[in-house]
Amino acid sequence: MGEIHLMKGNEALAEASIRAGLDAYFGYPITPQSEILEYFSRELPKKGIAFVQAESEVASINMVYGAAGCGKRVMTSTSSPGFSLMMEGVSYIACAELPCVLVNVQRGGPGLGTIQPSQGDYFQAVKGGGHGDYHMIVLAPNSVQEMADMPSIGFELAEKYRIPVLILADGALGQMMEKVEFKEYPKKNIEQNWATVGKPEKRDANVITSLFIESEVMEQVNIKLQKKYEQITEEVEDCELYHADDAEVFIVAYGISSRLAKKAVDLSREKGVRAGLIRPKILWPFPTKVIQKYATQAKGFISLEMSAGQMIEDVKLSLDGSVKSKHYGRMGGMIPAPEDILKEIESML
């Protein structure tokens, strides 16, 4: 067991990324994730790791594109409005199949919104967000410890599948301090013979592009991407279950909401109500099979989100009408109270 630290989620994520072999970070200040930028600005130059505070999120994501195209472990981080600005770049990265880790520490929206925690960017995260048919793998930590664990997991997945991986956190996870233990993280060992590193005489030039002007070619590129997404859907899944075995009402919640949900489950159990929690640690691909497995024993599902109800659509798609389901949540940085969640649970019985 390594040394235990008390750290903010943002700082833990930054420190763990360095330990996971980060080669470059490009970012732009925005609350509530600026500690990530600040941490890197302090630590990366000392270690000879590339760091640029870019002129905008648009520039950051394109710096990520350039460095990721060189086969390096690259990261950027931002919060909701900044992530919207990055969408063009993410679409390019997805099509050019560049591995990288992106971080969105969500705040309340739409628009400039509020700096308080929110989960309003779920659609943007799991449905693509930018133009075209693409996905990111979306990781959803719910503790400072997971903020530290997920960069390494993210880089591994990104390199295995040549796909952008998004760590979807929120202001609460970024700002709060908890115990965290840094582990031994695996370093990159996948050969990246596609990267632009300078063309030796004996190989063809490597080109990083997302431009395929002929429709026939573009369709083939899309088919290849979709096959990859199918493969990821088969192979990648991570859920935490809490009191699921005998539950008759399930809360599905990710990130900070799942912590509220746990408290609500505890409250229900105290009252003899058999509630359980399914927490996707990976939001895309969505854990449809897990939901379906527990649907057979359930009277109802509640999608608890700090949004107007976004993940509920994936819960409903998974249930396919087999069990009733509803959304519950607050918006704009407001936090659902466990007591109110409890009422929602009881209403499903």
């Binding site: 609350t31 908890e178 912590r259 746990k262 466990p338």
Partner: protein
Amino acid sequence: MLQEVIFAGFGGQGVLTIAKNVAYSAMLEGKETCWMPTYGPEMRGGTCGCTVSVSDKMISSPILAKYDVGVILNLPSMDKYEPKIKSGGLIIWESTTITDGPKRGDVKSIPIPAYDIAVELGSTLVMGMVLLGAFIQKTESITIDSVLEALRKTLPARRHNLIPLNETALRKGYEYASKI
């Protein structure tokens, strides 16, 4: 045992730091803990709150609507957080500068003239530590020794000369609270 505490005052009173000391001390004692600021865009001078949860078990929600204990350093924070203390809970408050204490009858009021005590000790900067001493006396959720160890670990070496003064402040607050 789960204890959920709100520390609140205006920015610059060291609310975040006191709260961090509690969280760090709890961690050193092998407990689970979570420190969560209610942050604002203003970096200084605004109302500033911070919750700390301390527990023997994994902490579920770090975001709280009701608290077991409030440690209140200014009047706006009293107005904001008094209604959010659980019935039967505890409000430890700075009674030199806050003129009106809690109005509720179902919470225990612990007025501590922390500002005056700090002035006596020669530095208003340790006002928070006086209140922290009172908090420790009333809640027993951490010990003075672990706060001192936390200070040794979190303060840079060049600031370690301040630890004796902080210790005095902690003990003064503890002593004062033990008489209430």
